[in-house]
Every structure is written in C-alpha cells, then in structure tokens.
Symmetry: C2
Subunit: 350 residues, 2 copies
C-alpha cells in the first residue's frame, strides 16, 4: 500500500500527519461508527453478535462507511475492536449489555493457555473488511486502522472486562514485573500481526488506543506505556515505513510530553482534559496533534458546541492539526449534531 | 482554635504545611479510617447506618481515632462525608452497598427545593465529633477536617451518586452556565458553613477534595474548579487566617500548576499519576506537596511498596512534604501493610 499512499499526496488528513498546516483542519471522530446512528443499530440488530459484525467483512465495511456517507469526514476508521487481539490469542470474548467479558487471566502461568501469536484465531476478515472499505471510499478519504496499546489490552485481559480503576492489572504489574512483561510482549506481538493485516488490507494510518494510560503511576507509565509503544512503533516503522502512527495515551496528563518525545509516534491524540495552550507549546511544536472536543458538547450541540469547536480550531490552527473529540462519540448523541459539526468545520475560515 | 494552633508550633504536619523541610515526612492516609480496619467494621455493624455513624459525635470520634491508635499517623482526619453538604441543603441521601444515592437535581429550578444555607439540617454533631477527637488525640497529632470542593459535590448532586464520567453534570455545566453557577454558589456557601463548624470544633487543617476535577475540559476546570476554590479559600482565610488549606484536585494533570498558583491553597495533594520529578520543579518549588503512593501498592505491601515509598521520600524529601497516598486506602488493604508503611516512614534517615 506504500505506493498507493505515495501516489495520493493530496488527502488532507495525510498532509496534516506529514506536518502541514492546513487552512481548515481535517477531521474524524473516535467511535464515529456506532450506536448513535440508526442505520448502525438496524444493521447490528440483523447481525446479532458484535463479534460477527466485526468479523464479517461486508458488514464491518458497511458500518465503517455509514458515518462517512452521512457526514463526509476526512477519514473512515475501520470498524473493529481492540479485544479481537486477546481473542486471537485464544482468550474467550463475549459482549454483554454493559460491556465486554473476557475469561480473566491473573498470573504468568495463565500465559500458557494463550497462543504464541495472533495466529490462534484467524483475523483475515479484518484485512478483507479494509479491502472492501478502500474500494468504496472516496479518493480524498483516508482509511484508519487501529489497535489497543499493550498496557490497555493487558488491563482488559486481567480484569476480564472494563473496570473503574483496574486494580488487579496494576497489582500484577507491581507484584510480578517479569511475568507482566511476558504478557505485554505477547500482546505486542499479536498487535503487530493485527495491524499488519489491516495495513496489508489497505489501511493508510493506524491509531494506538492506550485508553487506560492515565491510571498508571509515572514509573508504570514509563515501563508499560512508553516502552512497549516505542518497541511497537519501531517494528511497525521497520515493516511499514510510510504508515503514520497516531498515539492516544488517554489521561496521560503530565506524561503527554514524554510520550510524544519518546515513543516515536507521528502524531498524538489529546484527551478532553489537555489544555490547548499547553499542548500547542509542548506537543504541537514537535508533532501534529489531534483532538480534543468534549464528547458531551457534541451530544449537547448548539452554540456551546460551535464556540468550543471554533476555540479549538483557533488554538491549534497555526500548526499541524486534526480535529477530533477527546474521547469517543457518546451513544445518545443526535446525528444532527454531527452534521452541525461538519458544517462548522467546512465553513470558510473567517 | 487559632490560639491553640499558635501555641503548638511543634506538630510535624503543621511545620511541613508552614513550608518547613523535615528530616522525615509527616504522614497520614486518605480514607485511613474505614472498612479495611476490623474495629471499624465492627463499629459500623453496631451503628447500622453510615450517616448515623457520621452524625453521632462519639461514634465518629471513635472511628477517627482508630487508625491513629494503631499506626500513629501525624494526623487524624475527622470521620465524615462530603455528601453531608447536599444533605444539609435538603437533598435526600442514603448509602447503598455500591455507593451513595441522592435524589438527583437536573436544572436550576430544582435549586428551589434546596435550602439557602446548610442551616437546613443541623451539622452541629460534626463539630461535636471534632471536639471529642481533639480531647483524645496525642499532643503531636493534627486533626484535619475536610469537605468536597463545589464542582465535585455538584457532580454528585446532579448524577444522584457516583458515575463513570459525570455526563449529566457536564451537560448542565455546558448548557446553562448561569444556573450551574447558582448551584456552585449554593454549595460553596454550605461548604463554608460545614468547614466553619469543623474548625470551631477544633480542626486545625482542612482539605478540599475535588475528586472529579480531572474529568473537566480546561475551560471547565478554570471556571468550576479554580474559580470556586479560590473564592472558598479566600473566605476561609478571611474568617480563619491560621488554618492551612490543602487542595486535592484529583486528575488535574496539566492543570495542577495553575490550580496551585491561582487558588490560594497552602498545599496541594497529588494523585498517583503525578510524576515527582515534575511536581518537585513546578509545584513543590511554590508550596508544600502531599502524596502520592499508589493505593494498590499499599494493598500489595512488601518490597514493591517499600521501594516506592523510599523513592517518594527521596524525590520530595528536599522540600516541604507530607507523605500520603495518591487516592484513598482500598478496602481490602491488610492493616499489617499500613503498619509496615509506618515502620518505613519512621525509620532513621539513611
């Protein structure tokens, strides 16, 4: 896909990722495909299981395309899930109404139950879905792939699902750093496979979601967010030198700067709490930034949203910038508010 | 109590709060009285209701004393709850197994159902409890009082209890800043009453818990964390100039520095995510700091805990510093680990 990318230097999102300052920022939204869209809910109803939806190429491709058709974002993000990696490693996965359930692992010995690489369960449909989307996407629209970063995936694997503060994951990390390192390495290898399949399928950019980076103490952040991300980025760069990587260490706070400086990511995605004035000076001076409208404002819509969007574009508009939320679209967000956002972002610059 | 404080300049915690660098840091633990102690669970069993426990002076005093008797911390923190303020404003409050329940409010009109000041429900027992504790405490031990900061209390009042991301509270804040300001002001007034009762009862230091500061976007942090805290601190300073105030804007991340610089608090408490190397340069250079061992390490105990404690003491030991956790004691923490911590902290400096 490197050639294809090289032949299309005009895609706005790729220009921003290459460090260019554009007159209006390219945009997409984390979780832009999903439950807030009636056409998604309808399709989900038919498909039944969430995993079936992710692993049936035509369905995953259709869901990926839905928001782009409605709103014309500058990027589609492949419909998939970060927990397909533990599943590919052989960990049982299901989705209940209140979130994912995994058969929790709790010590290094449990690694024996996992496969050595993602080969355990076939992820080929994810690559196939990427191929379908690339065929259907307008020429100007970028296809983004993604994976969870190793710490965040490990946290889910240990807790067996979501958690308020991931105490068990942190306990293992503190108690048995060597065993925990084996788990992180196993995840990183599988993540590389997962991303390679997406990139070979046509994904042009990847984002690493480290959704639980913010709950780690500083040493933990250095050892289990920065270090594994740096290794993963280096290996991706070796194999796919032309694919830009966006890192999203949600909640990194005072560690954002080290993350940006030390992991090798091409751009950093900012959560809602990051002050633009600080991010401009310490992050955007170094690399492109993405973010960080509060999703509650998108759900709310109206003047409050429009003004916040304009403030963000003003703050970040003088450097390489991709407009996005600071976290995923909330499920009760009215689609009309996303349309309103699209209008604000496409309005001529004052 | 100003006189009493002035006559006892030797209490180690007050010396640290006055900016002195001590050879070993004074220490206490957030949520040091509570469910991890068998004697607490026994007393709670007898008292039945959590609110009864808070509002019966002898019982609240006994619970406050329990950890100090066992572990000899440099401070006791009055056993109480931040939600006594909404209750005093007339909002119904109960405690279920999974946390507090309040009759949620959702718009400015609901303020009419609340009292104008905390006078609505009598908080006198809280002052009485402080008096009982002061009589029982060793001369060297400080009594700390506390309240929730207005934003955090508002967040609970609007959600009707705990929440993952307090979306309703943020929605109101974005949608109706004027109505939200009235709510914040009402809470701030009641908080002042709540703290005045504690200080008049003998509390020597107060801590403001802004547990949900970290979920706000930067403008929200400025308007609803920094501004109300600054007004509250100014009014406290006017009425009780000798009472030091510790601020704990949990999750403030990149906003910690502005919080410390702009609110007028005497010391700042750091959550687990704050890197000592940054806090030393940007915060401790300005005011005393408190924190920030991960409570998961206290639950774990052993070498991992001891080494982390020593790293913290080394990092912060060259300036005014109070040892504490970065968040409250976890309920399944073995009391022996707190004893181990007490030994590490009282060991002669190497």
């Amino acid at each position: 896909m490197a050639d294809k990318t090289a032949k299309q230097p005009k895609k706005r999102l790729l220009r921003a990722l290459a460090g260019e300052t554009l007159d209006r920022p390219p945009w997409w939204l984390m979780r832009q495909a999903g439950r807030y869209l009636p056409e998604y809910r309808e399709l989900r109803e038919k498909a039944g299981d969430f995993i079936t939806l992710c692993l049936t190429p035509e369905l995953a491709a259709e869901v990926t395309m839905q928001p782009v058709r409605r709103f014309g974002m500058d990027a589609a993000i492949l419909f998939s899930d970060i927990l397909l990696v533990p599943r590919a490693l052989g960990q049982s996965l299901s989705y209940e109404d209140d979130g994912p359930r995994l058969e929790a692992i709790s010590e290094a010995a449990d690694l024996r139950r996992l496969a050595a690489r993602a080969a355990g369960i076939d992820l080929a449909p994810v690559g196939e879905a990427a191929r379908c989307v690339r065929k259907a996407l307008p020429d100007s629209t970028v296809l983004i792939g993604f994976a969870g970063a190793p710490w965040t995936v490990a946290a889910y694997m240990i807790e067996g699902g979501g958690s308020r503060d991931f105490q068990d994951a942190k306990s293992w990390m503190f108690r048995d750093p060597a065993g925990f390192a084996s788990l992180i390495e196993r995840i990183a290898d599988a993540t590389l496979d997962f991303l390679a399949i997406q990139i070979e399928g046509g994904v042009e950019v990847v984002q690493l979601f480290d959704s639980w980076a913010g709950i780690l103490p500083p040493e933990g952040f250095v050892d289990w967010v920065i270090a594994p991300t740096r290794r993963l980025v280096a290996e991706l760069k070796r194999r796919f030198p032309l694919i830009p990587i966006i890192g999203f260490p949600r909640g990194a706070g005072l560690m954002y700067e080290r993350y940006a400086a030390e992991t090798g990511v091409d751009a950093v995605s900012l959560d809602t709490s990051v002050p633009p004035i600080i991010a401009k000076a310490t992050l955007q001076s170094r690399l492109p930034v993405q973010g960080n409208l509060d999703p509650v404002l998108l759900r709310l819509g109206g003047a409050a949203m429009r003004e916040a969007v304009e403030r963000l574009c003003e703050a970040f508009g003088t450097g390489p910038y991709i407009f996005n939320l600071g976290h995923g679209v909330l499920r009760d967000t009215p689609p009309e508010h996303v349309m309103e956002l699209a209008r604000v972002l496409s309005a001529p610059v004052a």
